[in-house]
């Protein structure tokens, strides 16, 4: 046990360039969630905090690492929510807040938006490694605790990261145009996504149409215009109308404002007052400027 139920997993990184070999620390514990198959007593997944960055943390490379701890534990899947903010162009600072999970799709349209993927739902900088079975997970944890507790064992059992043959790094990785899209595949993805959206739209429309048919307690039915497509749109429009009503107040007085003497006097007074206020304000400003020594010509 290291901290708050996490177990430390030390991974040795080989020497590269002029840097000597070093150790990367992950912190692991069984992964639990609201899903029925991910409860404390039946989960097969391991929650990893501070995993290695994505190209170094692939299914293959995680397998080689984990096999070194427990050769009998088989891994079926690795999810990773990498600590990466690709919108952080250095010129304008960061864009992604690592403390939040923001879904613009849902926010832009609560009815038709699509949820975040399972991977995206993980906290930033964490990974979930799923074993084939519960035993694999338990065995892995036991072995890891043993290694950690037994200092002599720890010395000769160094767990090393070995990389993934299928992942290219260095020149090969960076001399490629990044994020190049295969057009045929993309066409399919786009088409599929649009189709799904249409279906959702259809569903929502059906929902609305259903509303029409519901007779409420007082015996009324909802009237829906032909343009209305979703429930919240209807509710939203009601809200908006109410707002507009509040704003529009009858302010169309057609009184003359410079008819009576008192009106003119009042206006002059106001003008004088504002003139004076501005004067005072300017005095303050100049005072401030003097304090900042703004009047030194040399």
């Amino acid at each position: 046990m290291t901290t708050r139920g996490f177990v430390k997993l030390e991974i040795a990184l080989p020497e590269v360039a002029n840097l000597p070999s070093s150790t990367h620390c992950c912190y692991v514990k069984p992964h639990t969630s609201k899903l029925p198959n991910q409860q404390q007593d039946n989960t097969c997944s391991l929650f990893v905090v501070n995993p290695l960055p994505q190209p170094m943390w692939t299914l293959a490379s995680v397998r080689t690492i984990f096999r070194q701890i427990s050769s009998a534990s088989h891994i079926s899947n690795v999810l990773l929510h990498d600590c990466i903010d690709e919108s952080r162009v250095s010129s304008i600072g960061s864009g992604v807040n690592y403390d939040l999970h923001i879904n613009l799709s849902i926010l832009s349209n609560p009815d038709l938006g699509s949820p975040l993927s399972e991977e995206e739902m993980l906290p930033f900088g964490t990974s979930v490694v799923t074993f084939v079975d519960r035993d694999g997970l338990e065995l892995f944890l036991t072995n890891l605790t043993n290694i950690n507790n037994n200092k002599s064992k720890k010395k000769d059992k160094i767990i090393t990261w070995k990389g993934d043959e299928n992942v290219s790094l260095g020149f090969e990785r960076y001399s490629k145009v990044q994020n190049l899209v295969n057009r045929d595949e993309m066409e399919k993805i786009v088409a599929k996504s649009l189709l799904e959206f249409q279906n959702r739209e259809k569903e929502a429309e059906d929902d609305v149409n259903n509303l029409k048919n519901i007779v409420d307690e007082d015996g009324f039915t909802l009237v829906v215009g032909p343009q209305r497509k979703t429930k919240s749109e209807i509710l939203g429009s009601l809200r908006k109308k109410k707002l507009e009503k509040d704003v529009i107040t009858t302010n169309d007085k057609k009184e003359k404002e410079d008819f009576y003497r008192f009106q003119i006097r009042e206006r002059k007074k106001q003008e004088m007052g504002s003139l004076l206020a501005k004067f005072r304000e300017d005095q303050e400003r100049v005072k401030l400027m003097r304090q900042r020594r703004k009047f030194r010509p040399y």
Binding site: L13, V16, N18, L19, H24, C25, V49, P53, M56, D82, C83, E86, S87, R88, S90, I92, G93, S94, G95, N97, Y98, D99, I102, L104, L107, S108, N109, L112, G113, S114, F124, G125, T126, L169, G170, F171, R173, Y174, S175, K176, V177, Q178, V181, R183, M186, V190, A191, S193, L194, F197, L275, F279, D282, V286, M289, R290, R292, K294, F295, P297
Partner: protein, 1197 residues
């Protein structure tokens, strides 16, 4: 006129008010008034305040301006204690002068003998007299009086102290009527001065006044030596009167009695030095001697003009303050009464102001009125200088006798700056040259514009900013070593030249001015010619200042370039048929240069054709040519151009040269052909896109790329895929439709479907396309990872990238913000989405507006493009460029062009660059908003000149169509600045505020810029500016300049070095389209004629790695890299560790690699984690793999 009546009414009001007050006070005992008093008093005070407020708003530009002027004048006041001390000194000096015994009349030899054993020489002006047929004598002076600004009590504090002028008038009995001829009076004056000096040097120390005496030419006039008295800090005797702390010097001038000579004979067109010359037959043929004549006349009028000015000052309440403003204004622009400093100083300004108080209009109408405020007097005088030509078109003639107040502007000038006093017959501008007058006028015009500015506060630019730095002041400055110049031209300075110009320096300045004005014509606006150093005071044991002082002195040619004309390659002369002018043209330019050319319109003209040099602008080429032709040694053995020092060319040559065959390796700085070619290609591809058959038509294609607005560092060379700006970003707007989905992913995907369709169609249909592909845009907008970009390579060798904008995009961002705000605890979430919205606005909306503004302004300011490019290059060399959006940089550079006061629009890359540095090193981003008027309306300034006194009619047609920044917008921008700084007083979130009409919020481009970077930029600018504008270094050394463009790597915590075998810098340089450096055989340079890369690989992998490092570790380490890798031999990526992550409590989702802090398990350390730098560096090394040679970390000190 209406102003005047207003003033008087107001003044009357005040006086009545005061009376009432007095009455109240007097009657305060009476009980009836007492009752009402409290309320009335309160009312009185406020009404008085209102009065002041109202008055200042009318008499001054605005309240704040008056208050600022008041403060400034306070600041300029002489210290009372200093004045009391110096008055004591002056009294003592006066006593001492009274004690000097008379001399007997002495012949020249006797006079010289008198001083032979006294270590004092008579400061005879050149030519030194050999034998005189008259006597020299000292008799106690008629009059000793205080003159100059101290005498007038208008003196102000100045930077280098001031001199207090005393005029000692030679008695009439010593002067004969004919003494004005042939230097006689000057010899007499010189003896008089030497005799006085001798006795002062004895009497002063004896009387507890320890002083140092030296001779000094008064106002640099070599005919008029004066005596300069400085205090010696000798405390041996406690009674000693020491005044060195005051920083005052006392100058003794030898004056002549007023009216001693018949002034008609000393008119500027008269000759008073009769010489024998083979070319001259009679006295009437001798050239006039205006300098000589004016020197005599002005020595008769020292006290006279003091009285004149004093009387004016008495009758005009604000004269004194206006005089102070005038003096400060002049000195900030390098003007004073010294011949070498323009010859227009405090005295001349005051005389002009007095003359304008007497009249000055065409019909003797008064330009200034006695009731004017200091601001009105100052502005009126400036306006007069700006709008009336006192040189060629006309002149101002006035009469210093008050009873004859006729002061008229008269048509037809004398071709010299003229302000003529009919009474004394002096042209008071006699010390000015045409050159200095043109400069004065230029400054007056610019200042008038500032004074007329109703939107911004221009006080700083008018009075506080000093514009005397040579490299900042002129567009280009050419320094000629004075010794060399004199050596080569001594033979041309004959006796006739001597009498009209007095000194060879004056002669050369005049000659060069004339030559250059003729040679350059409208390529330049003004030329300022003067010597670097004024003649210094010299020891009283020498007759004149030694020629050694010429050794490190230079003749400076300061140019104000007209960028619209300056780079034209042909100088056109007279028509071929005009024989007389043709001959003149040939003799001016030389037979080899002057050619006859036929033009398209069938005219045949004498012309000169100029080569384009890679470094020198055409103007400089012409100057070199003409100086060589006319001012080199007569046998042409030594060319003057070899000795010229020209700094501006060095800056130009820093810009990367494009890779093109050597035969055409010179590109004009202004609008190089590359930008034009790129634009043509853009037009072509746009046409192809418009023609596509799509479900929705393309409405517009909006470019947002820096290369398409001429501001990219590297010129766009075809097929140069290694140029980081190779792909020119554009935005496609489709026809409007109501069928865009109301949800982000689907909207993006619908857009993507269009993009894919466009890609397929264009590949099929356009013959212009080499290749097209699509990439995912993950970095433009946070949380929106579904954006695609279409990239196109055209057959003519250019790259474009397109993204789609619909009318639904912005709506969805706003809707998301609205929906989010309904959620509980959504504050931080809203901030993030607002950030996404901001980034969307940047990329899709504001970038378009920005591009539009800049691409118009870039044509209006010809040197803007090259300046931005050089400035970006400098930022890149300092590894800052990547940290600032290019739009911010473009706006900052633009500041120096559209908000150029007091310098003017930069007319060369050097001045542009230096003024940007100047701006950055002085600007306080925390306290001041930068507000830029991106108006494309350039003619309005002139309108102001004409009707600036009329109340500008807000409803006028002109005002409605103008896009100038109006007061309301200005105030709104100011408001948003104040609000911003309330929330972010240190500028952590938004270090820079740049408000424009396009961006009232002022933060579109600057939100998120790192404060560390912002302050680093300021300090780097300061260092660079100090090094480059040190006035002591006439020449900016090449190595020095290199240094300024080299990064300080030792400042960084981490340095990643690369294996340069993997990434050849030579290859990258070539593929970026940059001309190779250190090339031996120029004919072996190969152009790029085709795509040398398959489209799936990039030329510069370092940039990709850099992007990955920022994305992953940018929050904890500030990474920097040079964007233009082709320009450096050794690439590095540097890192600065952001402090504050040393110890945090453990939590899930930290956002950076960390490890538990080991060691003692005491409770307070438990669960604490630290940023694992070592692990980050290791990850970098693994990711970078074979690219990386080493990663070095600065040892922690």
């Amino acid at each position: 006129m209406s102003k005047r009546s207003n003033d008087e009414v107001i003044n009357d009001d005040i006086s009545i008010d005061n009376n009432n007050n007095n009455n109240n006070n007097n009657n305060s005992s009476s009980s009836s008034i007492k009752n009402t008093k409290p309320s009335s008093k309160k009312a009185k005070i406020s009404s008085q305040d209102i009065q002041i407020a109202k008055e200042t708003a009318e008499l001054f530009k605005s309240n704040i301006f008056k208050l600022q002027i008041d403060e400034l004048i306070n600041e300029l006041k002489l210290k009372q204690s200093h004045c009391i001390l110096i008055e004591k000194v002056l009294h003592k000096l006066n006593n001492l002068i009274g004690k000097i015994p008379n001399s007997t009349p002495l012949s020249l030899i006797e006079a010289q003998n008198f001083f032979s054993d006294k270590n004092i020489k008579i400061p005879f002006p050149d030519p030194k007299p050999n034998n005189l047929n008259y006597n020299l004598q000292y008799i106690i002076p008629d009059d000793v009086s205080l003159v100059g600004s101290f005498g007038l009590k208008t003196a102000i504090n100045s930077k280098n102290g001031m001199s207090i002028d005393i005029c000692i008038s030679m008695p009439k009995s010593l002067i004969q009527q004919k003494d004005y001829l042939n230097y006689r009076i000057f010899y007499k004056k010189a003896f008089y001065l030497a005799y006085l000096t001798h006795y002062l040097s004895i009497l002063a120390p004896e009387n507890n006044l320890p002083i140092k005496l030296s001779y000094d030419y008064h106002n640099g006039n070599k005919l008029c030596p004066s005596l300069l008295i400085e205090s010696i800090n000798d405390k041996n005797d406690k009674n000693n009167l020491i005044f060195n702390k005051t920083n005052f010097k006392i100058r003794i001038l030898i004056g002549l009695p007023f009216g001693i000579f018949e002034s008609k004979k000393l008119l500027p067109d008269r000759n008073s030095i009769r010489i024998q010359n083979s070319l001259i037959n009679s006295i009437d043929d001798l050239p006039p001697t205006p300098l000589y004549n004016a020197s005599i006349l002005s020595s008769t009028t020292y006290s006279y003009y003091l009285k004149y000015l004093y009387t004016t000052k008495k009758s005009t309440e604000s004269f004194k303050d206006a005089a102070a403003l005038g003096k400060l204004w002049l000195s900030q622009r390098g003007f004073n009464s010294n011949i070498n400093n323009g010859g227009f100083g405090h005295f001349e300004f005051n005389i002009l102001m007095s003359a304008l108080l007497q009249g000055g209009g065409l019909n003797n109408n008064k330009i200034l009125l006695h009731g004017y405020s200091s601001y009105q007097l100052f502005k009126g005088t400036i306006r007069y200088l700006a709008t009336q030509d006192l040189c060629d078109d006309g002149y101002l003639s006035f009469n210093s006798l008050f009873d004859e107040s006729d002061s008229n502007y008269k048509k037809k000038g004398f071709n010299v700056p003229t302000l003529f006093d009919k009474n004394t017959k002096i042209n008071l501008l006699w010390k000015m040259t045409k050159s200095s007058y043109s400069i004065l006028k230029k400054f007056a015009i610019e200042t008038l514009d500032l004074l007329n500015d109703t939107v911004k506060d221009r006080f700083n630019q008018i009075f506080l900013i000093n514009n005397n730095n040579l490299n900042l002041k002129y567009d280009s400055i050419i320094s000629i070593p004075l010794n060399k110049l004199i050596e080569l031209n001594e033979d041309k300075f004959g006796s006739l030249e001597k009498i009209s110009f007095v000194t060879i320096e004056n002669y050369l300045c005049n000659k060069i001015y004339k030559l250059l004005i003729e040679a350059l014509d409208d390529r330049i606006y003004q030329i300022d010619i003067h010597l670097l150093k004024n003649t210094q005071p010299w020891s009283i044991n020498k007759r004149k200042s030694s020629n050694d002082s010429n050794k490190d002195n230079y003749l400076l040619i300061g140019l104000f370039i007209n960028p619209n004309e300056s780079d034209k390659r042909i100088t056109k002369g007279p028509l071929h048929t005009n024989k007389e002018l043709g001959e003149k043209f040939v003799s001016f330019w030389g037979e080899e240069k002057a050619q006859i050319r036929k033009y398209k319109d069938n005219t045949v003209q004498w012309s000169c054709l100029w080569d384009i040099s890679p470094t020198d602008s055409v103007v400089l080429t012409i100057i070199k040519f003409i100086l060589d032709r006319h001012l080199s040694s007569s046998n042409n053995l030594h060319l003057l151009s070899n000795d010229l020092i020209i700094n501006s060319s060095k800056f130009t040559s820093l810009l990367p040269k494009p890779l093109i065959p050597h035969s055409s390796n010179s590109q004009p700085l202004i609008l190089p052909n590359h930008f034009i070619q790129l634009k043509l290609s853009f037009d072509k591809i746009s046409k192809d896109l418009f023609n596509l058959n799509l479900p929705l038509k393309i409405k517009s294609i909006l470019p947002i790329s820096s290369s398409l607005r001429n501001t990219s560092i590297i010129l766009p060379v075809p097929f140069a895929t290694g140029n980081p700006d190779f792909f020119n970003e554009c935005i496609i707007q489709l026809e409007s439709s109501n069928r865009w989905p109301d949800e982000f992913i689907s909207l993006e995907n619908t857009k993507n479907a269009f993009l894919l369709k466009i890609c397929n169609e264009i590949l099929k249909n356009s013959s212009n396309i080499k290749d097209a592909f699509i990439i995912k845009d993950k970095n433009s907008i946070p949380y929106n990872s579904n954006i695609l970009i279409l990239k196109i390579l055209t057959n003519d060798g250019y790259g474009f990238s397109f993204r789609i904008l619909t009318e639904n995009d912005e709506f969805l961002y706003l809707k998301s913000i609205e929906n989010c705000s309904k959620l509980p605890n959504s504050q931080t979430q809203i901030q993030s989405i607002e950030n996404s919205y901001l980034r969307f606005m940047q990329k899709y909306i504001n970038s378009v507006k920005h591009h539009r503004s800049i691409s118009i302004l870039v044509t209006h300011y010809p040197y803007y493009s090259a300046t931005v490019r050089l400035f970006k290059l400098w930022l890149d060399s300092q590894m800052i460029l990547n940290h600032l959006p290019e739009e911010v940089i473009e706006l900052i550079v633009l500041q120096c062009f559209i908000d150029n006061a007091p310098y003017g629009i930069p007319g060369s890359v050097m001045t542009g660059f230096l003024r940007v540095l100047k701006f950055l090193s002085n600007w306080n981003w925390i306290e001041d908003p930068l507000i830029l008027d991106l108006s494309k309306d350039f003619n309005n300034g002139n309108n102001d000149l004409e009707n600036d006194n009329n109340i500008i009619n807000n409803d006028s047609y002109i005002n409605k169509i103008t896009d100038k920044l109006d007061l309301e917008t200005y105030q709104n921008i100011n408001k948003s600045f104040n609000k911003l700084r309330e929330n972010d007083p240190q500028g952590v979130k938004v270090p820079y505020f740049i408000g424009t009409k396009d961006d009232i919020s002022g933060k579109i481009w600057t939100q998120g810029i790192s404060l560390v970077i912002a302050s680093r930029l300021t300090s780097l600018s300061r260092v660079a500016l100090n090094l480059l504008t040190n006035n002591d270094n006439i020449e900016i050394n090449d190595k020095f300049l290199q240094l300024i463009f080299t990064p300080a790597l030792k400042d960084y915590d981490i340095i990643i070095k690369f294996d340069m075998k993997k990434i050849s810098s030579k290859k990258l340089r070539r593929s970026s389209g940059i001309y190779p450096n250190n090339i031996k055989f120029k004919n072996l340079i190969e152009q790029i004629n085709n795509y040398e890369n398959d489209g799936e690989t990039v030329d510069d992998p370092i940039l990709n790695l850099y992007r990955e490092l920022i994305s992953r570790f940018g929050e904890v380490i500030v990474w920097s890299v040079r964007k233009t890798g082709g320009l450096v031999d050794e690439r590095v990526i540097t890192g600065l560790i952001v402090p504050g992550n040393e110890s945090r409590k453990f939590k899930v989702g930290m956002g950076y690699p960390m490890k538990l802090i080991n060691g003692n398990d005491s409770n307070d350390k438990k669960d604490q984690v630290t940023l694992d730098i070592e692990d980050i560096l290791k990850s970098c090394a693994i990711l970078g793999g074979d690219l990386i040679k080493s990663i070095e970390r600065k040892p922690i000190s």
